[in-house]
């Protein structure tokens, strides 16, 4: 479906739809992962991206932050956080975290690429995005629970059984809405990025595509 939509929009590369473990998909209808790969390297954001962050800062107010959780997409992520045992007022959903940082810092601070591209897309759409080093991933991304004895690369100890993770075809690469495994995040040497979005029930497919497109096109234009 994502491929069709991208084709219709004439957008290349089309986002790829990941796999969700069947027993998790049956518990969380609407849960999905989509990603797109982009040739880009991390670095300082160009002026156009910095200007866009400033414009976005001017459009973001405190009153919006209070009412953010009533909007459909942030609400959907907050509900999902509760449903997987997280407290969304402690482990913030990405758009809420960015909005609070904006209020705290007085503006969206530039953190370079790809962080700025992701942040722009997250604030504009509300969709949760994250970036991986595409060359380190083995095959497709998926959402599954951890198997006994599995651990997150770079993290001490085993993952508690049933921990929800984003995984490639070999191992978990990140916790779902949590830490990224060592070696899978974006580093100076990264030359190809995998921009991934986690979709939950209540987040429309078009918003996911828009978020991925926005982040990818910002990176490609830089």
């Amino acid at each position: 479906m994502a491929d069709l939509a991208a084709e219709r929009l004439g957008w290349e590369p089309a986002p790829r739809q990941g796999w969700v473990a069947p027993h998790i998909a049956s518990e969380f209808p609407g849960l999905g992962i989509a990603w797109v790969e982009v040739d880009a390297k991390p670095g300082r954001s160009p002026d156009s991206v910095r200007r866009r962050l400033r414009d976005l800062s001017d459009r973001t107010y405190g009153s919006q932050a209070i009412r953010l959780r009533e909007r459909p997409i942030p609400w959907a992520y907050r509900v999902f956080f509760r449903q997987i045992g997280l407290d969304p007022d402690r482990t913030r959903i990405p758009v809420e975290q960015l909005t609070l940082d904006r209020l705290h810092d007085g503006g969206f601070a530039s953190h370079g690429l790809p962080a700025d591209a992701l942040n722009i897309a997250i604030v504009e759409t509300g969709v949760a995005l994250r970036a991986f080093d595409a060359d380190r991933l083995a095959g497709s991304l998926c959402i599954r629970d951890s198997a006994p004895g599995e651990s997150l690369p770079g993290a001490p100890g085993e993952l508690p059984g049933g921990t929800l993770t984003i995984a490639d075809e070999e191992r978990p690469v990140a916790l779902l809405f949590g830490a990224t495994g060592e070696g899978f995040g974006v580093v100076k040497e990264t030359r190809r990025l995998a921009l991934a979005s986690v979709q939950v029930k209540g987040v429309p497919q078009i918003a996911v595509e828009e978020a991925l497109w926005m982040a990818a096109s910002t990176l490609e234009a830089a």
Partner: protein
């Protein structure tokens, strides 16, 4: 009796227990309650404190069992009850304050020095109603009381303390650059004692 609690026995009776459907239903309820709590939080913000936090039941993201989902659902429902109660109490206070302002306007002399802010009435912006005497001490002696309505928020400008700080810094920088000659000139101009 304990045998009745065994699942196999239920299966034998043809009574299937589908916990998955129960979990889905609890997740649906959590979604609805979260929306309601978000609405109450937005409504209460700036008027009164609403306890809206429900602590995490897991240290990381995972599938929750029926009991854990029930616990979250119940805590959300509790928070909503508390938030509603807090809002009702706040509205009562605001209504009382509104009535007080009306009584103050009708008979200011009965409410000497009483001051009610717009915030006390749940209104946005700055300002207050203040019962005070006309013409200061003379009005106090004569019993000429009135309710003065403030003109609103102060205009946005730099704090006087900031101006003082900037001036002091500029003065210091000027002194450093000018050196001894500058200092002598300043003395001549009578700026330093």
């Amino acid at each position: 009796m304990p045998a009745l609690l065994k699942r196999e026995e239920f299966a034998g009776l043809g009574t299937g227990i589908d916990e998955r459907r129960a979990r889905l239903e609890l997740r649906r309820q959590i979604g609805r309650l979260e929306a309601e709590l978000a609405g109450l939080f937005g409504e209460a913000f700036g008027h009164t404190e609403v306890a809206h936090r429900v602590d995490a039941v897991a240290s990381g993201p995972r599938l929750l069992d029926l009991g854990e989902l029930e616990a979250i659902r119940d805590r959300l429902a509790e928070r909503i009850g508390e938030a509603r109660q807090a809002l009702v109490e706040r509205r009562q206070v605001e209504d009382e304050n509104r009535a007080l302002v009306e009584r103050m306007l009708a008979a200011p002399q009965d409410f000497k020095w009483v001051r009610v802010s717009r915030q006390d009435l749940g209104l946005p912006g700055c300002g207050h109603w203040h019962s005070r005497p006309r013409l200061g001490p003379l009005g106090m002696l004569m019993g000429w009381w009135r309710v003065k309505v403030s003109s609103g928020c102060p205009l946005a400008r730099r704090l006087a303390a900031v101006d003082d700080e900037v001036e002091a810094r500029e003065e210091e920088a000027g002194r450093g650059e000018a050196g001894e000659a500058g200092r002598a000139e300043t003395r001549q101009a009578g700026l330093c004692s």
